[in-house]
Point group: D2
Chain length 422, copies 4
Amino acid sequence: MADLHFREEKVFKDPVHDYIYVKDPFVWSLINTRAFQRLRRIRQMGTSFLVFHGAEHSRFTHSLGTYEIMRQVLSHFSRNHNWPQDERMVRLALASALLHDIGHGPFSHAFEGVFKTHHETWTRRILMEDREIHGILSQIDTDFPSDLLSVISKGQKFPLLERLIASEMDVDRMDYLLRDALHTGVTYGRFELERLIRIMRPFGHDIVIKQSGMHTVEQYLLARYFMYTQVYLHSTTIGSDVLLGKILSRARDLFQEGQLKYCPKELVPFFEKPESEITVEEFLQLDDTVMHYAFSCWREEEDLSLRDLAARFRDRRLLSSVACRHPLDVDTLLEIQHAFDDAGIPSDSYLSYKAISTGGYLYKQGIKYVGDDGRLRDVCEASKLIHSLVPEVYHRFYYPKDLVEANHDRHTLVELLHKLQR
Amino acid sequence: MADLHFREEKVFKDPVHDYIYVKDPFVWSLINTRAFQRLRRIRQMGTSFLVFHGAEHSRFTHSLGTYEIMRQVLSHFSRNHNWPQDERMVRLALASALLHDIGHGPFSHAFEGVFKTHHETWTRRILMEDREIHGILSQIDTDFPSDLLSVISKGQKFPLLERLIASEMDVDRMDYLLRDALHTGVTYGRFELERLIRIMRPFGHDIVIKQSGMHTVEQYLLARYFMYTQVYLHSTTIGSDVLLGKILSRARDLFQEGQLKYCPKELVPFFEKPESEITVEEFLQLDDTVMHYAFSCWREEEDLSLRDLAARFRDRRLLSSVACRHPLDVDTLLEIQHAFDDAGIPSDSYLSYKAISTGGYLYKQGIKYVGDDGRLRDVCEASKLIHSLVPEVYHRFYYPKDLVEANHDRHTLVELLHKLQR
Amino acid sequence: MADLHFREEKVFKDPVHDYIYVKDPFVWSLINTRAFQRLRRIRQMGTSFLVFHGAEHSRFTHSLGTYEIMRQVLSHFSRNHNWPQDERMVRLALASALLHDIGHGPFSHAFEGVFKTHHETWTRRILMEDREIHGILSQIDTDFPSDLLSVISKGQKFPLLERLIASEMDVDRMDYLLRDALHTGVTYGRFELERLIRIMRPFGHDIVIKQSGMHTVEQYLLARYFMYTQVYLHSTTIGSDVLLGKILSRARDLFQEGQLKYCPKELVPFFEKPESEITVEEFLQLDDTVMHYAFSCWREEEDLSLRDLAARFRDRRLLSSVACRHPLDVDTLLEIQHAFDDAGIPSDSYLSYKAISTGGYLYKQGIKYVGDDGRLRDVCEASKLIHSLVPEVYHRFYYPKDLVEANHDRHTLVELLHKLQR
Amino acid sequence: MADLHFREEKVFKDPVHDYIYVKDPFVWSLINTRAFQRLRRIRQMGTSFLVFHGAEHSRFTHSLGTYEIMRQVLSHFSRNHNWPQDERMVRLALASALLHDIGHGPFSHAFEGVFKTHHETWTRRILMEDREIHGILSQIDTDFPSDLLSVISKGQKFPLLERLIASEMDVDRMDYLLRDALHTGVTYGRFELERLIRIMRPFGHDIVIKQSGMHTVEQYLLARYFMYTQVYLHSTTIGSDVLLGKILSRARDLFQEGQLKYCPKELVPFFEKPESEITVEEFLQLDDTVMHYAFSCWREEEDLSLRDLAARFRDRRLLSSVACRHPLDVDTLLEIQHAFDDAGIPSDSYLSYKAISTGGYLYKQGIKYVGDDGRLRDVCEASKLIHSLVPEVYHRFYYPKDLVEANHDRHTLVELLHKLQR
């Protein structure tokens, strides 16, 4: 790695950050790898585009944006707080931001549910096994790949970097909130990025804020709250994920029964083998386009359920849902399943009961501030607003409204659905 | 069509227009068709995402946006200029805006070049032959589909609508300039949409502007100029289109020689038949995901050129180019081709010479203003700035820089390339 | 009032709303009155510009903006909820939005505190006594001025209009939050205006929201919360108001003792007479420029306190403050006052103890939503977040830091100030 | 000047640049001077607020913004082009940006026309004579004030700094275009600031651009063009300046005849003395509030013309104008003057004939780019668009429409005015 820096900064034009600056050829090389370029073909927000039509941006753009925020944080920290002091630490930080999502496949949520894969596993394997990526990382030094993995997988060796890349106030979230807000067209996800960076500071092994920045943290946590409740957990988006899971399960079952007529070869390993036997090369073949192509094929399968499910996803005829007043007990669920099965609407293929928790952001183990007395305290001790952001759980029951309405037994089914809401 | 309007407006959240309003169930039905939903899988800006990473939005979002601007123009016109006066005309206008791109396939520019297809043809056939779309249109009345086609294909029956949907100052361009500017992150494409709408007015069979709005038109035409020169005609984007064309030509040739191992069945009709024999159903199977899937397959073909070309596109190792001082003559081109062929770099697969014209926007036959004397004049008579926007032609020569650098004959080749620039 | 509408809408270009539309000549006439034009010379945010330098915009721009939001609300209501149905009601609504601040003088907060004036009184008197304004209003009909006054002063005759112009979710607040956010450069005050308008609806005598819009109301109330805590109640701004009050009190005292050398004649009535004896004509002479001019004069007074206070305001050498741990008791306050007086720093002129309440927005008597059962409930019953927004009181003690530091007794004074913080 | 830098950067929140960063206590001291704080009371855009109501921002905000852009340019230059290399040069640059407008008084254009003062003179005198400013500057070293003056007054000692602070592509213009665009609400003034900074570079004694940045320069020059034609030279704004000039001339004449009843003492020196005899202290007393206060007084003068003119400005009853087809000859002008004088409308007080040139931006002596051959050329050689931006001259005749319409001789006058337009 002869040159530490390009003579002139290279830039990417970005809708969120205006410009993304790259001065380090090492970063440039990572961007140009096949594994990283593949992220262009994986949408950041999965099925959200079916609800917010603008949500069509890729993990590629988000990964660049995460890198850029990390770059800005480091620049601010080194100007004002004298850290980090060595170039290797900077490169660990920048590479971890750039590559934190490298192990994601298409529609991670639904896909990982059906195939029992884990993006953390694939991140590790790509960093350590992909010849191109591993080669570039190893040029820094032989320990670099494993140190980078340690940062991303929270190995506790580089606590400050871990906090920056994955914590209640990390550069990953900062980028995706702003980016997803821009593309969906909502204003909820906006917060004062520049000010948030200014109030953060390294403090021992933690990243903390100064007390006068409390309202900025409130604003940032509320941006998260609104994006989760209004966008990420939108009931129709969750229904789209349900539908996707149904498609994949059904296809897998048919495949294993030898009944699946069409199957893109890229999906075969996932149908045939456990995660541990799939190669990195096989994993990197997967992207959104493979999935969409599979759905396109499957709308011509002989199996009626798979045909219908695939067509629904393609043409956006999604599942409907009702909000359940109370968590459903097993007896109620069985009753409904039987009723649908009896009416000729296979419950396996069409019904789903979901508990949706807004509690993915347990900030309470989270952000600390330095009080007047120099002690660290959790921000929720000082902010009623943050204190009020407790997780909540909602229950929804998903079903195919059109099939119900066209069914001879529709009165029975509708009555059952009404019962859930009472 | 019992209900003329929904009781409450339905809305789509949009990053450009904030909200897109739908009050007419007829419009709602068109949006929910399979042919329209398919536009979600076709990117608006083709290969531009390889240069501006944010350019990942689809023709679906642009089509909704075009509809929304048309809706706003009609609302303004009816409030201030007493036109249109009947609901059928409004529906023709809205449907033409919504469906103006319905005949586009994936990567239109390169695709149509190789396969000799025409999106105008497919628009016509979808409106007239697609059962779902044609059915909804026919519910208005039996002439509606052909009248709509007349508007979109400039049949001169509805001159004002034609001007609104396709002219030098149309709602199509207004939306894509704003939308593409947002997603690429450049500011060049912005103009004062609301003011532009306010200065437009119907005048006989034309849409004209009032003279005091001259600077607003200048700003709009400059937005176009900048988007073309800086974004749409970016040399790397054109190089990506060249690469795409090379892939498709090579695959078609191999197919026709019986040498293509893998081919998604959706592409087969285009390899086998002339456009006129392809069915609407076959056409509607095509989208970006099919193409990406094909490229993924072809990187494992036996043919070395196709393998390499497909991998280049997937992993973003694009063709390089040099700006030519003068248009190249046939002898020079032949000399270069031979030299590359001799060096073992097949010119057919890798070289391209392009004349790039910024003159796609011949506004001079374009926008009229009403002068003080009540006469119509072209805006370029009143504006030196607009007058200066004449088309220009650039010439670039595309080639694979990495192959040249790795070639034993590289000195000869480099010297030849230098000659082009002199 | 012959013409109901201009043939073409007139517009104002506005940094917040893009355009402000005026179609009614009645509104146009009101804008062109002397009393309304005077609002150009009164800053919307009083002394805030000393903290947020961009806060230089006037009540004129805010009044136009409030009108525009009212216009949009009425347009939405009449399109979707069939109200209001008569033109007189529309005009009452528009005029109340336009004129709601007409009774404000310069730096209302500090000014009204010292001179015991009330902007509500002056609004009433201007509507009823100013020849120009009253004349235009009376052209609608003889009851119009008093009906308008009823709307603005909550006479309970037009409950829906009263809610729209002054309640927990009114067009006044909507405009000033967005406008003040823009000019100060903070993002805190932004919310989804268009969506907020869409979820509002008339319901009996109240304006309520639909339940699905709960998060939009949360966002709006949080915008308020942040603007109050971060901007409006900024400790330095409050200190600037304190300073202003000190200047005015001191000048009034000197005037009444016959010791004030310079006094702009426009201020004399307020020094000499109770509010009830001041004429509308005299009131309308007042604006920010008179006040600034007075301060300019007073920096050359013989009285040392007034000279110094006026110079401080002009040159931005403001009072400092400490946050008090507990509310101060009378004894402590007296002790401090004596200590400062003894040190030669007149406590009357320089010290102030302020209890600052963030509770100006008691939304709890506030916004109702229509539940699934059709009953009205307060939004804070459904939102933990809103429920957490209870008023809080802070206590600050203001003093002249520079004078303390230059004082021979500084150690005593500093020690006393430290005690307040413990 | 012990400390070179604050430990933590201080910031101002700004609507244009988000944050303005101050790390140097020297800059902080200059901002806190009386002369600089005075700029808060002088509006950047003079009388433009009478046309664009949002144009209420001060020279204070613009001066801070100019400083911030200079800071960004220096940061970019030192990162990428290794200049400037010493701290003194940086401070000269920052101070010149901050203080470039320090010599401006209220409504410079009209004021300087009537009183024959020059802001350049006052800048020089403030830098050299104002005790506070000169003191801070002299703390750097004894030559610093005169070197700073050399930069601002183009003494050719620091050519690069001169180019940065005042040339066809300077930080002053960059800030005011963006700032004025924001506040007026137009989009015309926007350009890609960050990109413009990136393409600029020091080259010998000049600041030039790289050729690939040509379109960015085009966009910037067009922003200027649009802001001048659409905003700065708006015919109503020029009419407001005309009115202001009429007020000041009339007041001065009356003063010199001993007929002016009210006169704020701050204006007296300007009525009595030539510029050279006015003290810096007297000059610094002047600001917008003095002027507005004077107009308020003068609407109660006995002189009918002054009364009326002052009331017009206060209540926004401006002069009207007609566009003249041709430049007017002396005979025509005399004929009109006589006709108005005969009709009892004093031509001296009410009429004005203005040639308005859009040619204030003679960029042709302007911006250079580095061609492929390493030679410098003017950008207008490479850009047809820039080449088309030649100055144009318009002629308008201003008169009081209301007085004409109320005049017994109105037919004669109207006929004369019509003649001008033919």
